[in-house]
Symmetry: C2
Subunit: 228 residues, 2 copies
Amino acid sequence: LIECQDLTKIYKTGDVETAALRGISLTIEKGEFVSIIGPSGSGKSTLMHILGALDTPTSGQFFLENADVSTLDDDALSELRRSKIGFVFQSFNLLPRATVLRNVMLPLLYLNIGEMQRKQKALAALKSAGLEEDRYYNLSNQLSGGQMQRVSIARALINNPAIILADEPTGNLDTKTSQVIMEALCRLHKNGHTIILITHEAEIAAYSERIISIRDGIIESDKKNAKR
Amino acid sequence: LIECQDLTKIYKTGDVETAALRGISLTIEKGEFVSIIGPSGSGKSTLMHILGALDTPTSGQFFLENADVSTLDDDALSELRRSKIGFVFQSFNLLPRATVLRNVMLPLLYLNIGEMQRKQKALAALKSAGLEEDRYYNLSNQLSGGQMQRVSIARALINNPAIILADEPTGNLDTKTSQVIMEALCRLHKNGHTIILITHEAEIAAYSERIISIRDGIIESDKKNAKR
Ligand SMILES: Nc1ncnc2c1ncn2[C@@H]1O[C@H](COP(=O)(O)OP(=O)(O)OP(=O)(O)O)[C@@H](O)[C@H]1O
Ligand SMILES: Nc1ncnc2c1ncn2[C@@H]1O[C@H](COP(=O)(O)OP(=O)(O)OP(=O)(O)O)[C@@H](O)[C@H]1O
Ligand SMILES: [Mg+2]
Ligand SMILES: [Mg+2]
């Protein structure tokens, strides 16, 4: 499903160059549940953005379902992201002055389905993400940190994407709420979705089948989760 | 040092009222190290904003060093915040297009000290927060999530505030980096600072002397940390 070879990503800030990724090669099959762990600044979010076709590598190759992503034009990339990928961002990226419901319904706008049906799907996604119903008409800048995180998760799930990329989805959540999220991701995994999850919490990585550890822009280890 | 009686906070969204705090009473002595824990949406950040004089309660009383905060005018409140309180926000609140150094030096602008000295203090604060030196000239929107979090922590520490209010300061950090932060907070505590920390991680709350648990806008329990 996903195959990268020797991905590098170099950021230029003035004359300074930062090598965020220094040669990442990995293969993820359809239906896998993978965690990516590693120290702060090691390149996890950078890798995730490339895997989600939101950013391009400086060098190296990236194939998504056998298509070389570097050969796709902007329209093809947008279509790929909208139909196949659900992205939970580390900093949520919600529209602050739109309601929770509107935020979650956003990815469905390009589909030809009516408002009633879009709203039904949003309610189902929010239920999976464990957000209480009395929050649904709040604007997203009227929420607690963990509530925003759950809206961001619901939005990623709404178009039932084949691949879910989640960047620290439980960073602002207490244990009980984290469990609700992880159970939702496990259900999706059972239904055949591919889950790639960045986390710094060992208890969260423990839900996955395979743990890839990144340090300073390279893969340090890539192992099956012994506890599962 | 800090005393609140029956604090309430009610948000109005349209015709809907949300009672974020429903009667909080507590006393925190100078030099204590307190954690506030509780489920997502329980009112922790709301309470923190009131304790940091960034927001006013709907009812109830709040005394800071024996001054009734509701009687202070805007200038007095600004002065209080700048000189006595260091605030680490749950969503960092950095200036995205200013460098790391400029962001950290910001709270010192009102003091009559030269740029050289402000820069020295910023370097010391960043060292405590464990941010690598090669990040110091990045703009804050060119950082990883955990790096932004550390800049936000350094900025809170730079004017050596008597009271440090930290809202989920380790939410985006791996274990090792979290330890660096907690050691810095413990050093400050040893030097007489008052630390009030919101966290959803038990290992982080374990560093404190007292743990206050909040649920649905009220205090559920308030106990000494048995492990310390
Ligand atoms: N501006 C606002 N308008 C309406 N409701 C609000 C507003 N800000 C916060 N709330 C609500 O107040 C309640 C408490 O929010 P608060 O941010 O204090 O929670 P929290 O304990 O910090 O949660 P988390 O652990 O998720 O950060 C939440 O239910 C939230 O939706
Ligand atoms: N736009 C940018 N310009 C320059 N450097 C950048 C930029 N974005 C990220 N970086 C750097 O690239 C490195 C990797 O960043 P990345 O966000 O991938 O880390 P991460 O593993 O997700 O960290 P965290 O766990 O803190 O979220 C970091 O050192 C960061 O400072
Ligand atoms: Mg990251
Ligand atoms: Mg909060």
